[in-house]
């Protein structure tokens, strides 16, 4: 990969891709809930900027609209909703403990290497200027999953989920200049509904276990069923 061959705009897209990936890493390392929501908003803004740049480079006017939707939805509306929920639930100051942060970050680096490995055959075929961005977007998706696996708080899990969605959208933009508009609108709609439902859930979870630590949601695991079965019955009248 010779960066000198890239035009100025292409270099810009690649730099933005790198920043999106960086935002994923900072999400992974961030232990404060509010800060991770902010990092997520920044990632959304970066994806929107990259989309606008691709729209300019490729001369695809409909991508400007996608960029606008992304900016409105992922950089503003969804972070704002999450922020409000955090304030309402009074957990603004909560700090999460991540088990073994160094290991998690190493795993993240390995995932990035892995995505480059998987994306190589795809890159060879690509006729587009933005080549290694597919690998980066796949890495963002995988890192989103890693966030969801390593975090215990319901809200940070949702942030991981949304950041995964960022990776998917980014993949669509850089590899194919965006999906057909109707699909993009559908995906955006689903995402918005999902955010609202997540919001409802936070309150439901809070009500049922008086915390948002999803580790405590463990009544339904297969192993506990046996324990429940041997529990003594309540004496009947």
């Amino acid at each position: 990969m010779n960066f000198a061959q890239f035009t100025l705009q292409e270099q810009g897209v690649v730099i933005l891709a790198a920043l999106v990936l960086f935002a994923s890493f900072s999400l992974l390392a961030q232990t404060r809930i509010i800060a991770s929501i902010h990092a997520f908003a920044w990632q959304g803004a970066l994806v929107a900027a990259a989309t606008a740049l691709v729209a300019f480079v490729a001369g695809q006017p409909h991508l400007y609209l996608s960029a606008l939707i992304t900016l409105a939805l992922k950089a503003m509306l969804i972070p704002w909703i999450l922020h409000r929920i955090v304030v309402k639930l009074a957990i603004t100051r909560e700090v999460e403990t991540v088990v073994n942060p160094a290991l998690v970050l190493l795993a993240a680096a390995a995932l990035v290497a892995f995505s480059y490995y998987v994306a190589l055959p795809v890159e060879k075929l690509s006729t587009l200027a933005t080549r290694n961005t597919i690998a980066i977007s796949m890495a963002v998706v995988l890192l989103g999953m890693l966030i969801m696996v390593t975090r215990r708080q319901a809200i940070t899990q949702v942030v991981g989920f949304m950041s995964m969605e960022n990776g998917l959208f980014f993949a669509a933009v850089v590899s194919t200049h965006g999906m057909p508009m109707v699909v993009e609108l559908g995906v955006a709609f689903d995402l918005l509904v999902a955010t609202v439902i997540f919001g409802v859930f936070f309150f439901q979870i809070r009500q049922s276990i008086e915390s948002l630590d999803v580790d405590r949601l463990s009544r339904l695991a297969e192993s506990t069923e046996l324990d429940e079965a041997v529990e003594p019955e309540e004496p009947r009248e």
Binding site: V141, M179, V187, F201, L217
Partner: protein, 493 residues
């Protein structure tokens, strides 16, 4: 074509109307009425397709052929019979104070919304919209799983939401890759997600990209099908939600997800045909995942303590069997898979309806507390027994035929795997009956009283399953054969 729009619009309108109807009693009836109207229009649609062949409409946005039209009819039909069951059942739950009238409104609105998303997923020609609709189906049902607001149900719903969300995100990545492969071939990339277009140019699509895309799509949609090891959400979601929801989730949603997998498999098979060194990659992957799910779920049947959980594992087992059959390919296995899909939907929803009544009789879902159903209420007891016999593949019922056909097909191409299939069937059979037997026959606890049960849907479904087992009507056999031709290249008849 008008029938198609009616089929989609009726549940959509129903969903909106139900969101504002304040009276639960009326909403229950309206739910039945909307679902029944959808069934009628879907049958009209099916007759149109039967007469004039596959059709594209609304600027290639919808595509209806023999494969999806029968699933449309099946979906609408099972949704109707389940709605008939749901009306008194939910009334009873309301009376017991497990939910309030606001949540009932949510329930009815989402029931119709769920029906709409499934029909949209089935009828659309655009693979992107297929994804949107399937995600929509998750969103519509997730709040219904937590409808009772018990800690268990909230946990089940959260698991369902997160796992299916992550899973289906993989499917979106696969869809992006599909589009990427198509866009480099097509002159008008806008058409690159239309299934008909993709199917036409399948031979030109890049095989490497298509294989990677299929892995993502299989993992993504496979999560929704409930394939092991991505099945963790399924028993929870199916057991904690209201019983009518369990019936439509098990009977319908899993089918729609499998439908999505099969559609993409057809594309990947086209792309890999003759080019790659492993032309049946998609089939092998599906066979492996399917067989694993089938065997693992069969074993899990033995250690269940909750009756609805047990039948959810039975659903995983049957979905595994169908995935295996579709993966095996070839006309006979495909025919068997299509037949199995239909019969499993009918019988499994009938079982869940019966289980709903049984849990009302016993007042619990715990298997070791449900006893003596036949003594207390013969209709429910026999319904459960016959339903279980049907789902286990006993001869007079149709599932015996489909499983037998699948075994024959396996014997032809992979003789050794028949051993695995037969032992899996035996394990599942033993698992079901060791639990069902005491529930149906055992001594009834004192003071156990019959409830007002609506067994009409159950008997209707079981009769259909019996009919298909004794003699598949010629029209239907022809129909399945057409679908088989579409998927496998040639028919069996």
């Amino acid at each position: 074509m008008n029938a198609l729009f009616a089929t989609l619009l009726v549940p959509l309108l129903g969903s909106m109307l139900m969101a504002v109807v304040p009276r639960c009693r009326i909403a229950g009836w309206l739910n039945v009425a909307f679902a029944a109207t959808t069934t009628v229009t879907s049958v009209i649609l099916a007759l149109e397709v039967l007469r004039s062949g596959p059709m594209l409409s609304a600027g290639k946005f919808f595509y209806i052929d023999a494969f999806n039209v029968y699933l449309v009819v099946l979906t609408a039909f099972v949704a109707t019979t389940t709605a008939i069951f749901s009306r008194p059942y939910m009334d009873y739950e309301l009376g017991r104070g497990r939910l309030n009238s606001r949540r009932m409104r949510l329930y009815h609105a989402m029931y119709q919304g769920f029906l709409f998303t499934m029909l949209l997923a089935l009828s659309t020609n655009n693979l992107g919209i297929l994804w949107v609709a399937l995600e929509g189906a998750t969103l519509a049902t997730v709040l219904l799983v937590s409808l009772y607001r018990t800690p268990e149900s909230v946990e089940a719903a959260w698991k369902y939401f997160i796992l299916c969300g992550v899973g289906i995100a993989q499917a979106l990545f696969g869809t992006v890759l599909l589009y990427f492969a198509a866009a480099s071939v097509l002159t008008v990339p806008e058409d690159g997600l239309l299934w008909t277009t993709l199917h036409g140019i399948a031979g030109q699509l890049d095989p490497t990209v298509m294989s990677i895309a299929f892995v993502f799509l299989l993992v993504g949609y496979g999560t929704k099908v409930g394939l092991v090891p991505l099945h963790n959400w399924l028993p929870d979601a199916h057991s904690e939600g209201p019983t009518p929801m369990s019936a439509v989730l098990s009977g319908l949603l899993l089918n729609v997800a499998l439908y999505a997998v099969v559609r993409t498999k057809m594309l990947v098979d086209g792309a890999l045909h003759g080019v790659s060194n492993m032309p049946q990659l998609a089939g092998y992957l599906m066979m492996a995942f399917g067989l694993l799910s089938f065997l693992v779920a069969g074993l899990f049947l033995h250690r269940q303590r909750d009756i609805k959980r047990m039948f959810s594992y039975s659903s995983i087992e049957h979905m595994g069997l169908m995935t295996f059959a579709f993966g095996l390919g070839g006309p006979l296995a495909t025919f068997a898979a299509l037949l199995h899909m239909t019969l499993h939907s009918l019988v499994k929803s009938a079982i869940f309806v019966t289980v709903g009544h049984a849990t009302h009789i016993a007042g619990t879902q715990a298997i070791d507390k449900i006893r003596g159903l036949i003594r207390t209420q013969p209709a429910v007891g026999w319904g459960l027994l016959l339903g279980t016999a049907a789902i286990a593949g006993f001869p007079p019922f149709g599932l015996f035929v489909s499983e037998f056909l699948l075994l024959v097909a396996t014997m032809e191409s992979w003789p050794w795997l028949t051993v695995a299939l037969l032992s899996g069937l035996a394990i599942a059979f033993a698992g079901l009956f060791r639990n069902i037997h005491p529930m149906v026959y055992g001594n009834q606890p004192e003071g156990q009283l019959p409830v007002q049960a609506n067994m009409l849907p159950v008997y209707l479904h079981l009769l259909l399953a019996l009919w298909f087992g004794l003699a598949i009507p010629a029209v239907l056999a022809h129909w399945f054969d057409q679908a088989t031709q579409l998927i496998a290249g040639k028919g069996v008849l």
